[in-house]
Amino acid sequence: MDKIISLIILGVMVGGIYSLIALGFVFIYKSSKILNLAHGQFLMFFAYVTYTLISQAHLPFVAAVIIVLVLSALVGVFVERFTIRPLMGQSILATIIMTFALGFIVEGIVILISKGYYASLPAFLPTGMWKLGAINISHQYLAILVLTLLLFAACMWFYQGSRAGLAMRAVAEDHITTASTGISVAQTFRLSWVIACLLAVISGLLLSSLYDVHIDLAGYGIAKGLPVILLGGLESMGGALVGGLIVGLAEMFGAGYIDPLVGGGFREVVPFILMVLILMVKPYGIFGLVKIERV
């Protein structure tokens, strides 16, 4: 019983982290139908830059974070202007491969900065835990979960309740129609990339408070982010949250109960098996937008 409860708690906590990663993907997908394969690299890049500012420039943590947030906004503007906008109107797949290639560049820059070394950010979240018998709840995970939920709430409000959010949803539907109502497509795109980069900073920092920062963080971002958003539905923030929790729980139970039977590593494939099963029943994810097809 303890094991089950512990696994559930871990699943929720880890799932929260996955949702956090997935949020960045969903944000870009919602506003531009682009699967940003460079998101993992952005996470890693901003975490590294923060680390470098703290360890090399000896800046206080808060100052470093503020600088990185400003930097990330600039990166967002730059990326949108020079890589995404020229491809507007072209095949979406070309844009996705573009983000993939962009990820390579970012990875190269990170290697130039880091010289391949691991980085470990100072702990900025509360440490310690509550013990309830054999079950313990780490404050750090809890803090991340709470921050994730707040971030989700903010993003959902932004999308549903704000004018810029409405513009983003409109742009996602149809560029030309939206432009003809006076909404600037380019500006909306820029805004969504800036926000996605800010999200990458926040989730990168939260992740690096738990784990060492290194090159693997990028691959981790992709490998965990993709199944989550596909389970939840590419366009849905709520879906990303629920998808993250499902993946987190499935992984924990897969690792806890199935791994000993099959010789390990099952945790990695559980979300994918689940994903295929769910996609068979709901082809557009759990909360994804159903494509309206009229012939």
Partner: protein
């Protein structure tokens, strides 16, 4: 396809012909003949690079049929190559079947497994389909690495080279001939699939699958067929990969490779066989050039450190792809057509 002004295709056969003029035939034959002489003067380094490119070209052709022609995005091509490679490994090592006989078997087994992962295609569309094939990437590699009794698991397995008499594929020059012939055959097959009824059905499905269904194309059958053919190619590529390395290991077949194969189809130009080949050669060549360029850059800026090599190679590679896509998002083949057209019409503008 632009032709010389005043020269029109007067029959349907001529219009869909691969080589429409005698010059094309001659250029083609001379080009192939020159390539066949490569092993006579090239070092093993270049030959094995070509062998690697052959592997890639075959796999990318398969992906071209699934994604470029039929419009079903697949992110599992590399894992399906893994199936092909392990089919050869297991059949030849555990069951003593001749490596040559394994060539079609690798294709068939991979095709069948590909169909399993392609089956969701009937219901699932677009990126969601990409993800069910992404699942294939993870599940296949996991299964292969856990069938330890057969595959040796993560420790990998050695595959015997293909031999006939004294001819063994273990040497890069011999493998070059095998790979060369295999690639030409596969290009011809891909090109001809595109020109037949099946190919036209694939294109109809890609452009609008509901409309295609209404026209009487059996969606399920054709989508599965697309996956079968595409994965058959991946299986052949897997065979070639096993011959190329002779040591196969589940971690050789990564998601990154699968994504790059899709990248090659895009860079080459969606929906064109020539484009797929061009994309594979371009990306592989670029990867290699980036390595050399970054080695040079490393000697120019030695202060940057030991990692300058990797960093520059990644940055150069990524940058060229990004710049290329900005200037030609429709791919190499499109640019090639424009180039040919403007060359033919020279000196007239239109």
């Amino acid at each position: 396809m632009a032709m010389i002004p005043g020269d029109f295709s007067q029959s349907y056969e001529r219009d869909i012909a691969i080589f429409r003029t005698k010059t094309q035939w001659v250029v083609m034959v001379i080009g192939l003949a020159i390539m066949l002489t490569f092993p006579l003067f090239m070092s093993n380094y270049w030959l094995s690079l070509f062998n690697f490119i052959f592997v890639t070209v075959i796999a990318v052709l398969g992906l071209h049929l699934v994604t470029g022609l039929c419009g079903q995005i697949s992110l599992g091509q590399s894992a399906l190559m893994c199936v092909g490679a392990y089919t050869v490994g297991v059949l030849s090592v555990k069951f003593g079947i001749s490596v040559w006989a394994c060539l079609p078997l690798a294709g068939l087994v991979t095709g069948l497994i590909g169909m399993i992962f392609g089956a969701p295609a009937l219901r699932v569309k677009e990126f969601y389909l990409a993800m069910s094939t992404l699942a294939a990437q993870f599940i296949i590699v996991w299964v292969v690495s856990h069938l330890e009794e057969w595959t040796g698991g993560q420790l990998g397995m050695y595959v015997p080279p293909a031999t006939i008499g004294g001819f063994s594929s273990a040497s890069p020059s011999n493998l070059f001939y095998i790979g060369f012939i295999l690639t030409i055959v596969m290009i011809a097959v891909a090109k001809n699939i595109q020109r037949t009824r099946v190919g036209r059905a694939f294109i109809a499905i890609r452009d609008n699958d509901i409309a295609a269904e209404v026209m009487g194309i059996n969606l399920f059958r054709y989508k599965l067929l697309a996956f079968f053919i595409g994965c058959f190619f991946a299986g052949i590529a897997g065979w070639m990969w096993a011959m190329y390395l002779q040591n196969i290991n589940p971690s050789q077949f990564t998601l990154k490779e699968s994504l790059w194969m899709l990248g090659m189809v895009i860079v080459g130009g969606m929906g064109s066989t020539t484009g797929a080949v061009m994309g594979a050669v371009f990306v592989r060549g670029l990867d290699m050039i980036a390595d050399y360029a970054s080695a040079w850059a490393g000697t120019v800026f030695p202060t940057i450190g030991e990692q300058a090599f990797t960093a520059f190679s990644l940055i150069i590679f990524g940058l060229v792809i990004v710049i290329f896509l900005i200037y030609e998002p429709r791919g190499l083949y499109h640019r090639w057509e424009l180039f040919k057209a403007s060359y033919r019409l020279h000196p007239y503008a239109y």
